[in-house]
């Protein structure tokens, strides 16, 4: 027998073993089953499921558990349907399966109400690939609406994300919120009331944003640090600014470019800016149609850009006049090689916001339709003109190079030096 020193507790355990009871089962009478309370999920064993549905979730006493349970149980490639009705959700809903479709009865009748949400920064978070969300409304999330987290092929089709309070700081920041994704489709959808951008796509590729409506947001649509997006046939109206194409510093994906924005109706974006101080979007003055910030090679064509109190389009570098200083040596602050052509500008600049008046440097209203910062990257060779921001065939649109980098000293309304063309970008199929 080995001599050893045991604590009192150790001795008790030895006696508890009772000799060689071996792997004694300590507790008796355990009969566990997976518990999903208040089950309101049918999988076809009772009443027949609607066509195309592998499961149907109905509103009930514990919507977070039934909806999340159905999504956790959904096999890859299956469709989880939601019945008409309002689902009360106090917890973020997640979709982690691949190829899963979440489908409501219709956008108007299947409402995911997140008014009571107190757990999770999003209404819905998607981490699976090839996920489709369709025919439902996400309402009043405290945080962001529907996030896509570094996934492949996320599709939002016929979805509404809305906040019912008007211009409220309590509204979430982003309605549609895919980040770091390859393959993003946002179509036939609606967003109202976002405190930052209603439709936002960040650090992604393979992007189509088409046939959507965005109003009552600070930014209607924002493409940020992303490349090759197609933004078409959207109606962005009554936001603070209609469509933003931005590059920001300090992010892993740095050099977004080559957004093609065409056949959008961008009008009357004159909403006061209700963004949170400290965010980049809070610096955007109200009354802008388009803004390109620090991004190259974008093409803006065949849009109607009308009724903006400040201006139709601003193209600017990331300037510390407008934005906070930063530490990112790789960041390219300039906006170059953009191509703005064949747009209809009308009724812009009647009552410019303070910042716009400031950069007009004494020029009287109306502000011009097109405002270019005039900043040139001295380290870059532009002998072939590829870096020039070009404007072509925009009807009678008025123009100002406001010489941001020269302290507004050498402003010019002569559009001839920037009347030029670049090769067209190819729209997504």
């Amino acid at each position: 027998m080995v001599r050893l020193t045991l604590s009192f507790a150790g001795v008790l355990v030895l006696f508890g073993l009772g000799g060689c009871s071996g792997g004694g089962e300590a507790t008796a009478g355990e009969s566990g089953t997976v518990t999903v309370t208040e089950t309101a999920v049918t999988t076809g064993m009772g009443t027949p499921l609607p066509e195309g549905c592998d499961a149907l979730v109905e509103p009930g006493a514990d919507d977070p558990t039934t909806l999340q349970g159905a999504l956790l149980d959904a096999p890859d490639g299956s469709t989880v349907c939601m019945a008409a009705g309002t689902f009360s959700l106090n917890t973020e809903v997640s979709i982690s399966g691949n190829g899963v479709t979440l489908r409501g009865a219709s956008r108007a009748t299947t409402i995911l109400d997140f008014t009571t949400e107190d757990l999770g920064a999003n209404g819905i978070k998607v981490t699976g690939d090839d996920v489709t969300i369709t025919a439902l409304t996400v309402k009043d999330t405290p945080g962001d609406g529907i996030r896509g987290d570094e996934v492949k092929n996320i599709t939002y089709d016929d979805v509404a994300v809305i906040w019912t309070a008007v211009n409220s700081l309590d509204n979430g920041a982003y309605g549609f919120y895919p980040i770091g994704c390859t393959g993003v489709a946002i179509r036939n959808s609606l967003v109202i009331g976002a405190r930052d951008a209603g439709i936002y796509v960040g650090q992604s590729t393979g992007i189509v944003v088409e046939d959507n409506e965005a109003y009552g947001n600070v930014a209607g649509i924002e493409i940020e640090n992303s490349t090759g997006a197609t933004v078409r046939r959207n109606h962005a109206h009554d936001n603070t600014a209609g469509i933003l194409i931005f590059n920001l510093p300090g992010l892993p994906v740095k050099d977004g470019k080559q957004t093609l924005a065409y056949e959008n109706k961008v009008e009357n974006n004159n909403l006061d800016n209700f963004a949170k101080q400290g965010t980049v979007v809070a610096s955007v003055p109200p009354g802008l149609g388009f803004m390109i910030l620090a991004s190259d090679g974008n093409e803006i064509r065949d849009n109607t850009i009308t009724g903006h109190r400040s201006t139709g389009i601003v193209i600017a570098e990331y300037s510390d006049v407008l934005f906070e200083p930063f530490d990112d040596p790789e960041f390219d602050i300039y906006a170059q090689g953009n191509f703005v052509h064949h747009n209809i500008f009308s009724g812009n600049g009647a009552d410019p916001a303070e910042l716009i008046l400031f950069i007009m440097n004494g020029m009287p209203a109306p502000a011009p339709d097109i405002m270019l910062d005039g900043c040139i990257d001295a380290n870059v060779d532009n002998a072939d003109g590829a870096k020039t921001n070009c404007f072509f065939e925009n009807g009678g649109a008025t123009y100002l190079n406001f010489d941001l980098c020269g302290n507004l000293a050498m402003q010019s309304a002569d559009i001839l030096p920037v009347t030029c063309e670049h090769p067209a970008l190819t729209p997504a199929t």
Binding site: A26, V34, T65, S96, G143, L169, G278, T279
Partner: protein, 364 residues
């Protein structure tokens, strides 16, 4: 609580009792897998414990461990165990990468609340036991929720909100809501680049002094003595180790960086849930701009609190990191999901750390 568990474990390991081998063929530093398809329906079926299960007294082969910079978890107490499959061993690493575990490994973590924080011997309520199961080169995460009688814990995949009552350090009675995660919420911290990770089983977290048999010993040395590693580890003094965030040793910077790694880096690193923010809280990140110094936030939204940079050296109350750590608003709070109670000690630590940063790095 932890002390009692250690003594029980040691007692089991030291006893030589003739004639027991046929009753427990796996009596050794590793375990045979319990019968049944994983995950099993109840915790008891895994056969990890001896005696009444709520004593959490581990069998031999259920090896206890602790980490240097634990996750806050609303001040829940935690018991952590490694259960290796029969004959399995761990590949230790010399850097801060995750240890290599064989197929069939199970990592166990019990979460409990003392009834009275002034007196840990007064008993505790176990809320949940989380498992990570190693399968096909990946981990699968599951949790088992304990019944009020503390006799059984049952697999639950859809999460639960549990009201926990206890007496706080000042004697006041409190009730807090504690979140048992659903399957996807486990992934929100444990998943990186589509693969799940064990977060605490890295050398900087594991390389610390622990008490065994009344003496201070290096945990890595002790684990090696339990025959858990494929090869003898290097001298622990030559390996990285986080400093206890609340201890007296080390520098403020070391303590803060260890805290941030343990509480934030699972999301705040490339490939993690906050990878695209560009804000990195790995203790190994050398570029202070990436750690947030004078960093403009990407998409903090309401989380800015009106501030403009993640960390403003010398000015914690103008720093977004502090603002977000100090909030319980779901849109603002950091961490995003797991805690319902602010970690005031952690907040103080990070506040001190930012306050001590030289102002000549400042973002004007």
């Amino acid at each position: 609580m932890m002390k009692r568990t250690i003594w029980a474990a040691l007692a089991l390991m030291l006893v030589v009792t003739p004639g027991c081998d046929e009753a427990d063929p796996c009596d050794g530093p590793t375990r045979c897998q319990a019968p049944g398809v994983l995950p099993l329906a109840t915790l008891g079926e895994y056969d990890f414990f001896v005696g009444p299960m709520d004593q959490l007294a581990p069998k031999r082969g259920v090896v206890p461990y602790t980490v240097a910079a634990p996750l806050w978890s609303d001040h829940a107490g935690k018991d952590r165990f490694i259960v290796l499959p029969e004959g399995g061993k761990i590949d230790l690493r010399s850097d801060d990468g995750e240890w290599g575990f064989p197929e069939g490994t199970i990592l166990v973590k019990n979460f409990f609340f003392d009834h009275d924080r002034r007196d840990p011997t007064a008993g505790f309520r176990i809320i949940e036991t989380r498992l990570l199961l190693r399968e096909a080169g990946d981990w699968r995460a599951f949790t088992y929720v304990w019944n009020d009688e503390q006799t059984a814990a049952t697999l639950l995949r859809t999460g639960k909100r549990v009201n926990v009552e206890f007496k706080d350090l000042d004697g006041a009675s409190k009730t807090e809501e504690y979140i048992v995660p659903n399957d996807d919420q486990c992934s929100s911290c444990h998943e990186r680049d589509d693969v799940e990770h064990a977060l605490g089983l890295i050398t900087p977290q594991m390389n610390r002094m622990v008490e065994r048999d009344g003496k201070q010993v290096a945990q890595l040395t002790w684990l090696a003595g339990q025959e858990l590693f494929t090869a003898p580890p290097p001298d622990p003094a030559t390996l990285p180790g986080f400093i206890d965030p609340y201890g007296a040793a080390g520098t403020l910077d070391q303590r803060a960086r260890g805290y941030l790694h343990g509480n934030c880096a699972h999301c705040h690193q490339a490939g993690g849930g906050a990878g695209k923010s560009g804000l990195v809280f790995l203790a190994s990140e050398q570029d202070l701009a990436k750690v947030g110094v004078c960093k403009v936030p990407a998409a903090a939204g309401a989380g800015t609190g009106g501030n403009t940079h993640d960390i403003v050296p010398g000015k914690p109350d103008e720093s977004i990191v502090i603002y977000r750590m100090n909030s319980l608003d779901p849109e603002i709070k950091m961490p995003e999901l797991p805690n319902r109670v602010i970690d005031t000690a952690g907040l103080e630590l990070i506040r001190s750390w930012i306050a001590a940063m030289p102002v000549d790095l400042a973002c004007q």
